[in-house]
Symmetry: none
Subunit: 196 residues, 4 copies
């Protein structure tokens, strides 16, 4: 176990170094040498764990988003009411981004620079996140809370886009205010918008 653990440690160190480097310098400006230095490994070592620079970026997304989604699922499954779930999702999304600003910067700003990611976008884990949102809305419809005539694929995107822009604006403003305070106003807006 110690052996395996150690290996994963190194992979994690590289990934975290990449998050920090990409967030600080931007994906294109950050070099593999930067990441290696930050991770305390040789540049060549990175290629033992990741196929290439793009894979490193995409892996950050896949593994970290997966983690978030799993956690969000777990946390939301405790709730019954779709409105409460939706509100909680907004809170979780913004709080997590606030607590992991480097990761947020990579998600919001850098990830879009990966051709590979963008072309695979509709099939990524992000789809799972969209589904999570869609499921909650449908749940709300079944609970008689939300309108039946919602154009689901449209409102899902609108909801996600609202969260996304909220985080992006916060990042680009220099993170100079409390992001979580935006949660209730945004959640209210959509819950009212969804209501019957």
């Amino acid at each position: 176990m110690g052996r395996v653990k150690k290996t994963n440690d190194k992979r994690d160190r590289i990934m975290n170094a990449a998050i920090a480097s990409f967030a600080q310098h931007g994906y294109h400006q950050a070099t593999i040498a930067d990441v290696a230095r930050e991770a305390g490994v040789a540049a060549g070592t990175i290629y033992l764990y990741f196929k290439n620079k793009d894979d490193l970026l995409v892996s950050i997304f896949e593994e970290k988003v997966q983690g978030f989604i799993q956690e969000f699922h777990r946390r939301l499954s405790q709730e019954e009411n779709a409105e409460v779930k939706l509100r909680k999702l907004v809170h979780l999304h913004l709080v997590e981004m606030q607590n992991h600003p480097d990761l947020a910067a990579v998600f919001q700003l850098e990830l879009r620079q990966s051709r590979h990611f963008m072309s695979a976008y509709p099939k990524t884990d992000l789809k799972v996140y969209f589904d999570l949102i869609g499921d909650i809305i449908e749940e709300g419809q079944q609970q008689g809370l939300f309108r039946k005539d919602l154009f689901l694929s449209a409102v899902k995107k609108a909801f996600f886009g609202a969260l996304d822009e909220t985080v992006t604006s916060w990042l680009l403003a220099g993170k100079n205010y409390d992001l979580s305070q935006m949660a209730d106003p945004v959640a209210d807006l959509f819950i009212r918008g969804f209501r019957d």
Copy 2:
């Protein structure tokens, strides 16, 4: 007049070539040679009209977005009712993007890769667009249509983000559906969300 016209023609040709090239290959992947070939000019000629590659990208944004905002302003000023205005804005936004998909791709995907643009983001013309949105919402509040307790800076971003993601999703899905059909569902969502 002929002389001036011709010069502007060349500048426009370069800018349009850049929009096409950036949309097709992505900002970083597109080379100045690509743009020049597409515009039918020599590479060096581009530097007679634009300071550098980044300036080309930023100029696209500034001049084209300015055009859109002015047109939106003009079109919306004919309306009285804030709800109608908001609905119309959503329509205009999505229809324009649908009619100019390359430009849309540059706006949604490529522009964010410009460090220069992103750092200037809060001061760009995009702020004017945010203001336009904010003004309509405030107008709705004064008309007694929208809630007075809206967290304006939050809902502005949510609204813009929703439009933004709607377009981005459409682009990344390969523009394989009618974008304008998303207008009413999205507009409905926000109008209800804003209502008193």
Copy 3:
């Protein structure tokens, strides 16, 4: 005459602008656009008077050096004594360079960057200057002032090199002392070295 004069004026203006530009920025750093701006003409105009940038540099040398040599000839022909002539030549050389520092900079520093000049060096007007020096030394030998066994081609170069380095050092030191004060010490050195 007015017509011809005007033309020569423009050629002169360009040449003087080139001297100033080359002296200030260096030959390679100075652009044709710089020279044109300084001369108050369009870039293309320069090519009506000079074959190319290199020709401009070489022409400065040829015409200005020719002027100097002619003047030196004239001024020295008044003297009889070879020692006096030599002393006067040193004075003239240093005083002229001091009075035309931009020209000096072009001679001492920039001219050597012209491949064309360097390859033609042994055949340039500089040879005439070397000959002028050689003639004076031979005159001194005939006047019984200088040794008969001087290796003429060696001492000519040594003499010129001494003047050259004296000017170069002054230029590179920022022209922060009186160059003409070096004349007598240098002249003394060579006159003694040449003496029988």
Copy 4:
């Protein structure tokens, strides 16, 4: 040791390739690709050992001149008499240049094209060479061989300039005569010029 030796070998190979390339084509005309080809390395490798092209040029000067000066110092320290020292210095200078004509070409012709070098000129190792010359002259004064009223800073430059021009002329004439034969005539000239 093998490892270190090999690394130095590569650096040396690049430097020697640069000397050959700069001598043959001139500094500005020689490309990094030329140097790389000549050295048998990839272009990028050069940047592992030198900061940029200019650094390559300046490094040639610093390391090679330093070598010469040290060797000259060592060789001259064996002599007592200042006149003999001076004569030997002239010999060494010309013989070394004759034996390393590519290096000579870089010194005499190319180095002066480096803005960076020229601006640092008064502080370079060349100053050490000037000092070496000055020390010998002062030694001669103390030995009662040379005049006390020599304008030292003037005659130092004259002496160096004479050597410099002697080499330059030889190079530009196509190295078509024996440079070392100029040594005695030049040395004689200065020794007589310096004498009491």
